[in-house]
């Protein structure tokens, strides 16, 4: 449905995108993951025809965005990082404007009713956009992308600045939309892509590091299980005991400290579950464990892991 090939984009001396290629098939939800400044927005802006690349091409449903921009743009609904809202219009006026702008040929009232229903905007349709809360504004932005029923939806960081309840709502909405549309979604939150997307493309420094189905990325990330433990007891002795425990590969102390307890990060090798072993070990020393929780990897750590793996694989191949 969407084919991005060999995009290169430089802003002055700075190379923002360096040979970025990926493709999205119909009905897929693709997560575009990367830290701030990785080139996510630049890629999405090029895909939607807002910017032009120095080289490379973007095809939407087989139509090149540069050769036939009008046809290609008709197939895309885009929610930029900052929703493009005219603050002094009401929701209804704004969506009607977008409807006309996109030159849609549906029954206008019915179509806009549908869009508002899906995005749960029906109650605020007559309110002026500038008076709406951030969450509603974001939904108006999503509604704007949905007008005209485009095949491909592109959302640039759709959950930034929303409260937790709104984040869940927006994620659910995206998942629903994914049933009928091809969705590309950018974010810097790892759990978000894991929750919503079928496939993950990870980008950093303008280069694509990884392009895999979500499951395989998750398992790659979770190969080493990590736990955060809160243990009462003398730090040095607890550390030593933890290191001796069977299956534990790595132990470190965090700066989190309470009266008589310290917080430790314990990593185990492979699939072995060290929780029981740690518990019995701590019993021996009579150091009570007052907290234990699985610890996910941060995005930076995932990058480290993926890049390490990537380079290890290429080394293996060379050998």
């Amino acid at each position: 449905m969407v084919e991005v090939s060999n995009l290169v984009k430089a802003f002055g001396q700075k190379l923002a995108l360096d040979d970025v290629s990926f493709s999205v098939s119909e009905g897929e939800i693709l997560g575009f993951l990367g830290p701030n400044g990785a080139g996510k927005s630049t890629t999405l802006n090029i895909m939607t025809g807002y910017l032009s690349a120095n080289s490379g091409s973007v095809k939407i449903g087989g139509i090149d965005i540069l050769e036939n921009p009008d046809e290609a743009k008709k197939q895309i609904g885009f929610l930029p990082e900052q929703p493009p809202l005219y603050m002094d219009m009401t929701v209804d006026e704004y969506l009607s404007f977008v409807y006309e702008l996109k030159n849609c040929k549906y029954n206008r009232k019915k179509h806009l009713d549908e869009v508002c229903h899906v995005t749960k905007l029906t109650d605020v349709r007559h309110r002026v956009i500038k008076n709406l809360s951030k969450g509603y504004k974001q939904r108006v932005g999503i509604a704007q992308a949905l007008v005209g029923n485009p095949k491909v939806l592109v959302f640039d960081e759709p959950t930034v600045g929303l409260d937790p309840k709104q984040i869940i709502e927006v994620r659910n909405l995206i998942r629903t939309l994914g049933r009928e549309h091809t969705v590309i979604l950018s974010t810097h939150i790892l759990s978000e892509v894991q929750a919503v997307c079928d496939r993950i493309v990870i980008i950093n420094g303008g280069k694509i590091l990884c392009d895999k189905p979500t499951d395989s990325v998750s398992s790659a990330i979770n190969k080493n299980s990590r736990y955060k433990l809160k243990i009462c007891g003398p730090q040095r002795e607890v550390m030593a005991a933890l290191r001796e425990t069977e299956g534990v590969e790595h132990v470190e102390v965090t700066s989190e400290r309470e009266k008589d307890s310290c917080t430790y990060i314990v990593e185990s090798t492979g699939a072995s579950d060290v929780r029981k072993a740690v518990f019995y070990k701590m019993c021996e020393g009579e150091w009570p464990i007052i907290g234990m929780a699985p610890e996910g990897l941060s995005l930076e750590e995932v990058f480290m892991k993926l890049t390490e793996e990537g380079s290890a694989e290429t080394k293996k191949r060379r050998k």
Binding site: F11, N45, G49, K73, P80, D88, L101
Partner: protein, 234 residues
């Protein structure tokens, strides 16, 4: 394109912008008109139009300053540029909206001629010729204003920049009087919007000048499109 035009027109009338423009335009032109014709007890409109051109220097930026600058600041241009609308369509829609406002106000100001016709005996051919020329000059100024608005995201900078450029274009004619070199004077005279207007005030419909105004307008609309095209690549 029609959608953008309609939205622009709506924005002129749901914000004070459109009303302010009309009020200031009509106040200024009404004042100039009574000063140059009624108080002078003359039916010669030449001075009125010449003064009005100075008025345009302040009035036109009111109309054009926010056209592109505000869209850029509010990031709404991303919506326009990723919609299936060509750059020309977008620029023309903005131009036509500003022009409609301008033209509508000029039409209202034609009521003054009625007074002139009732109490005097004006040279109608000359009045009409001048009015047409002033409308062309106005559209030319609007195109320049739009171009400068496309260059910045700050409305104030857009307004001041436009005033500066327009003042430059009009005042060139005045500076021309003190330049010794004939060659320079000839070139500036040819370029000057103000000098080219002289023929109209003498009752001649100068097609060359009319064509000049239209081309200047087209050039600046073209440049505005280029600004957007360039930004996509920069």
């Amino acid at each position: 394109m029609l959608a953008i035009y309609k939205r622009e027109m709506r924005a002129y009338f749901t914000t004070p912008q459109g009303y302010l423009f009309m009020a200031i335009f009509l106040c200024a032109s009404g004042f100039l008109f009574s000063l140059t014709t009624l108080l002078m007890q003359s039916s010669d409109t030449a001075t009125y139009f010449q003064f009005l051109m100075y008025g345009y220097i302040v009035l036109v930026p009111l109309l054009t300053m926010k056209s592109f600058a505000e869209e850029k600041k509010a990031k709404t241009e991303q919506l326009l540029l990723t919609a299936p609308v060509s750059l020309w369509g977008m620029v023309m829609a903005k131009f036509l909206a500003a022009f409609t406002m301008f033209f509508g106000t000029v039409v209202i100001s034609m009521l003054y001629y009625l007074v002139l016709g009732l109490y005097g005996d004006p040279n109608w051919a000359k009045v009409i010729g001048c009015t047409v020329a002033m409308i062309l000059i106005g559209s030319c100024f609007i195109a320049i204003g739009l171009f400068i608005s496309a260059l910045t995201e700050n409305q104030f900078v857009a307004a001041m920049g436009t005033m500066g450029v327009l003042a430059g274009l009009v005042v060139v004619a005045v500076i021309n009087g003190i330049i010794d070199s004939y060659a320079i004077r000839l070139v500036l005279d040819w370029l000057s919007i103000y000098s080219r207007f002289t023929n109209f005030t003498q009752g001649i419909f100068d097609f060359a000048s009319a064509f000049y105004y239209v081309s200047l307008c087209a050039v600046f609309l073209f440049l505005s499109v280029r600004v957007y095209e360039k930004r996509r690549f920069a």
